[in-house]
C-alpha cells in the first residue's frame, strides 16, 4: 500500500440502528468523506441527519453495516470493552456535564490520556495551560467549573492522548453563546498546531464557517455537498445547502424574516425514493424522483458531472 495522504477515509459508509420489531433505520446511508492531516472539516446538517452516528462510527462506538472507514490506511474496528488500540482518534462530546467523571479530579482524568500516549514529560497542568486555564485547576473536581471551562478540560483530556484525528461531536452546542466561538476556535488552533486533523460536527453554520477549511453538508444520512468553506458559503450549489444558508437570519437590521424550508425531514426508516431531498426541493425534476444522485462533490442532478 502507498503512504496515505488522507488521514481518515470514509467510503460509502452505512450504519443501521436495529430495534426489535421495527425495520432497521439507516442513520448513515452511503456517506463518503475524507480528512487530511492538519485539515479542519466541518460537518453540518439538521438534527437527526446522521452526523453524530457518523462520528460515533469513526470512533468505533457504532458498528458499521456496510462500507469502510480507514484511519491511516487501517480499517477502524469496533471498540472493545477494555482495550483500545486506536488512540489516534479522540472525541470531544457534546455535553461536558456528562462526559467528565464527577468523582475524579480533572488532573487525574487528563493524566489518563497522557498514560495512553506514554507521555511522561507533559503534566496535566501543562495541558490545562494550553487550553487557557490556570495550572492549579488540576486538583479540582468538574462541578467547580462552568460549562465553557468543562469543555476546555474535555478538550485537554482528548489532546493528552496525542490524537492525530480529533472529533468534536457538537462540542459547542451546550455552551453559552459567548463561549461558543471561543471554544470552537480553541479546538481548531490546538488541532492544527499539533498537525492533527479535526472533524467538527455542528448544526451551527456560522461557527463552522469560522473554523473549517472544508464543509460537508449532510441530509438524511447522505452527504449532499462537500467543498471549500468560502466557496460553499458564497455560492452553495445543492438546493438543500442553499435552503440551509437562507434560513440563517442575518443581523442587518432590515427585519427580513429568514426563509422557511417547506415540509419536514422525512422519516429515515422510510426515505423517499430517488434523491432524498426531492420531496422538499424547489427545483425537483423527473429524474430526481427516480434515481438517487450517487456522485460528488454535489449530489444533485442539476450538478451532474459530465
Amino acid at each position: 500500500m502507498t503512504l496515505p495522504t488522507t488521514l481518515l477515509a470514509i467510503d460509502d459508509l452505512v450504519v443501521e440502528h436495529r430495534s426489535p420489531g421495527r425495520p432497521a433505520v439507516r442513520g448513515v446511508a452511503g456517506a463518503s468523506l475524507s480528512v487530511s492531516p492538519g485539515e479542519v472539516v466541518g460537518l453540518v446538517g439538521e438534527s437527526g441527519c446522521g452526523k453524530s452516528t457518523l462520528a460515533r462510527a469513526v470512533c468505533g462506538l457504532n458498528p458499521i453495516t456496510a462500507g469502510s472507514i480507514a484511519f491511516d490506511g487501517q480499517p477502524v474496528t469496533p471498540l472493545g470493552l477494555r482495550r483500545r488500540k486506536l488512540t489516534g482518534i479522540q472525541m470531544v462530546f457534546q455535553d461536558p456535564y456528562a462526559s467528565l467523571n464527577p468523582r475524579r479530579r480533572v488532573g487525574d482524568q487528563i493524566a489518563d490520556g497522557l498514560r495512553t500516549s506514554g507521555d511522561t514529560a507533559t503534566s496535566p497542568a501543562d495541558l490545562l495551560e494550553r487550553v487557557g486555564l490556570p495550572r492549579d485547576f488540576a486538583g479540582r473536581h468538574p462541578h467547580e467549573f462552568s460549562g465553557g471551562q468543562r469543555q476546555r478540560i474535555a478538550i485537554a483530556r482528548a489532546l493528552a492522548a496525542r490524537p492525530r484525528l480529533l472529533i468534536g461531536d457538537e462540542p459547542i452546542s451546550a455552551l453559552d453563546a459567548s463561549a461558543q466561538s471561543q471554544v470552537a476556535r480553541l479546538m481548531r488552533d490546538l488541532a492544527v498546531d499539533s498537525g492533527a486533523g479535526l472533524l467538527f460536527i455542528s448544526h451551527d453554520l456560522s461557527v463552522v464557517r469560522l473554523i473549517a477549511d472544508r464543509i460537508a453538508v449532510m441530509y438524511l444520512g447522505r452527504i449532499v455537498e462537500v467543498g471549500d468553506t468560502a466557496e460553499v458559503w458564497a455560492s452553495p450549489r445543492h438546493p438543500y445547502t442553499q435552503a440551509l444558508l437562507r434560513a440563517v437570519p442575518r443581523p442587518d437590521g432590515m427585519g427580513t424574516l429568514p426563509e422557511e424550508l417547506p415540509g419536514d425531514v422525512p422519516d429515515p426508516a422510510d426515505p423517499p425514493g430517488g434523491c432524498r431531498f426531492s420531496p422538499r426541493c424547489p427545483f425537483v425534476m423527473d429524474v430526481c424522483r427516480e434515481k438517487e444522485p450517487e456522485f460528488g462533490p454535489v449530489a444533485c442532478w442539476l450538478h451532474e458531472p459530465r
Binding site: E46, S47, G48, D176, A177, S178, S181, H203, L205, S206, V207, R209, L210, A243, L244, A247, V248, P249, R250, P251, D252, G253, M254, G255, T256, L257, P258, E259, E260, L261, D264, V265
Partner: protein, 258 residues
C-alpha cells in the same frame, strides 16, 4: 399603546445585584427584543415580570399591566395573571413540556382554570390552537405525548399552550436557541405572524442578533443588569450608539469576514 411597562426594576439575589434599574415598555402588536451576553440579566427580567424569580430574590421597582403593579399583587391575584394575561415560552421545549401528560392535557388544564371552559369547549379550542401553530393533524396530535414530536413541533406546542388563554403579553426566552436553523425560521415566522394577528406584546429574549434583526421591532441591549441602548431595530443594529452594542455586532462571525 403601552401594554406592559417595566420601571426601575431592580433584583438582587443573595446581596448580589442582578438587575440595576431596568426600564422597558412593551406595546401591543410589537416585538421588543432584549439582547445581551449570558449573565447580563435578560432572562431575569423576563422571569421578574411573572414573579418566577428564584427563592430569596429581592425585587424593587414596578411592572405595570393594565393599571396594576404585578410586583405588588398578592399571590392569588398574580396567579390569575400568570398564564392568563401574561404567558411565557421557555428555551427548551424538551424540558418545559411535561413528558408524562398528553399534549391535550397540557393545553387544556390552564384554559379550564383561567377561562372556566368545559371539557368539550376546551378540547375544541385546543385543537384549533394546534392548527393555528401548524401542527399537522391537530385532532390526532391532541392525544399524543411530547416525545412523539420533533423539537420544532414541541416548541410550536409550547407556543400554543402559551397562547391558549389569549394573553396580552408573551415573554419568549430564547425560544429558538435549541432548534435547527431551518426549524428556527419556521418558528420565527410563526411568532411574528401571531404577534401581528393577535396584537400581542412580545418580549423576545435572545442572544442571537440575527434572530433579533429578523423579528424585533424595538431592540434593547442589556449589560450587567442595565439597559445600555434601546431603540428601533434598524437604528440599533446599523448605527449603534453605545460602544457595547458596537462590540457585540463586531464580534459576529459575519463582521470578521468582511
Amino acid at each position: 399603546m403601552t401594554t406592559l411597562e417595566i420601571a426601575a426594576l431592580k433584583v438582587s439575589i443573595g446581596g448580589k445585584e442582578i438587575l440595576r434599574g431596568v426600564d422597558l415598555a412593551l406595546e401591543a402588536g410589537r416585538v421588543h427584543g432584549l439582547a445581551g451576553e449570558s449573565g447580563s440579566g435578560k432572562t431575569m427580567t423576563g422571569l421578574a415580570v411573572l414573579g418566577l424569580l428564584p427563592h430569596g430574590a429581592r425585587v424593587s421597582g414596578a411592572v405595570r399591566l393594565g393599571g396594576r403593579d404585578l410586583l405588588a399583587l398578592p399571590l392569588k391575584e398574580l396567579n390569575r395573571v400568570r398564564g392568563g394575561e401574561v404567558a411565557m415560552v421557555f428555551q427548551d421545549p424538551a424540558t418545559s413540556l411535561h413528558p408524562m401528560l398528553t399534549v391535550g392535557r397540557q393545553l387544556t388544564e390552564h384554559m379550564r382554570h383561567h377561562l372556566g371552559l368545559g371539557k368539550a369547549e376546551a378540547r375544541a379550542r385546543a385543537v384549533e390552537l394546534l392548527g393555528k401553530v401548524r401542527i399537522p393533524g391537530p385532532a390526532e396530535a391532541y392525544g399524543r405525548y411530547p416525545h412523539q414530536f420533533s423539537g420544532g413541533m414541541r416548541q410550536r406546542i409550547a407556543i400554543a399552550i402559551a397562547l391558549a388563554c389569549s394573553p396580552k403579553v408573551l415573554i419568549a426566552d430564547e425560544p429558538t436557541t435549541a432548534l435547527d436553523v431551518t426549524v428556527q425560521a419556521g418558528v420565527l415566522r410563526l411568532l411574528r405572524g401571531l404577534c401581528d394577528e393577535l396584537g400581542l406584546a412580545v418580549l423576545l429574549v435572545t442572544h442571537d442578533l440575527g434572530v433579533m434583526s429578523a423579528v424585533a421591532d424595538e431592540v434593547s441591549v442589556m449589560r450587567d443588569g442595565l439597559v445600555v441602548e434601546s431603540g428601533p431595530r434598524g437604528r440599533v443594529l446599523r448605527e449603534p450608539e453605545h460602544p457595547y452594542t458596537r462590540s457585540l455586532l463586531e464580534s459576529l462571525p459575519d463582521a470578521e469576514a468582511r
